[in-house]
Point group: C2
Chain length 148, copies 2
């Protein structure tokens, strides 16, 4: 049994989720492809090999995995939600020209930041969303922005 699969098994057990073939395939895809995949991309990828999974199952499992903390839904400006198995905390950068979403490695806010502005709210997490031009778009001067 590979390192990855035993890790996933353990993750399932810890989260009290039944390790079904479909659920396994979804999580495996996200663990192997540390990109911000849309539900549709995950659906397609899973259905290229057995086991197949219906669209509803993919969504069910993404929600279940997110609730269990094994995956997280990434904010995205566009319409399609994106998911990410990178559980190390990180910030995000959104390119306003080509809409790419990139991970920014984690750094903490100074502990006092926003203390007053946050009032009595109980903050359990935060992330910073940066916007601007990614390296590729910055270098291409075209008004249209770089295409991938």
């Amino acid at each position: 049994m590979s390192k990855l699969s035993s890790e996933l098994d353990q993750a399932f057990r810890a989260a009290a989720l039944r390790p079904t073939a479909q659920r396994y395939a979804v999580l495996e895809f996200l663990a192997e492809h540390r990109v911000h995949a849309t539900a549709e991309e995950i659906f397609d990828a899973v259905n290229r090999n057995d086991p197949r999974a219906s669209r509803a199952t993919v969504y069910n499992n993404l929600r279940a995995l997110a609730k269990a903390g094994l995956v997280r839904e990434v904010m995205s400006e566009g319409k399609a939600a994106r998911f990410d198995a990178n559980l190390r905390r990180h910030h995000h950068f959104i390119c306003e020209r080509c809409s790419a979403v990139e991970d920014i490695s984690w750094f903490d806010l100074p502990p006092s930041a926003g203390r007053a502005a946050l009032g009595g709210r109980n903050v359990t997490n935060y992330e910073i969303v940066f916007r601007g031009s990614c390296v590729r778009c910055r270098d291409s001067k075209s008004k249209q922005g770089a295409k991938s």
Copy 2:
């Protein structure tokens, strides 16, 4: 002519947007209701009185106004985009129990923050998204979270 309407007129002129009745109604609604309204809410509000505006027009104008910087689209976890005429920069707080979105008054990141992590990207803007329990949910001990 009211203070608000002359301000809006001036904003239109500055942005080189024709001050049509529909466009005016959309911007006026957002200026008067500093909430995070969805396009649907704006559509409904505008169509309660003259002038009417079709759905396409509401969307066209929201996009035009956003491009002109008079309005901004607020990230939201859910599906429906939300718009905001609060042009003062602010951060956001999302309650994980009741999904409320609240504005957090602006504070800057230390100028050096993330310098290394951001690499060569050209950052033009950023915001911090905090998550946790809002004051109401924090006080209600129920597992379900407070309802409004």
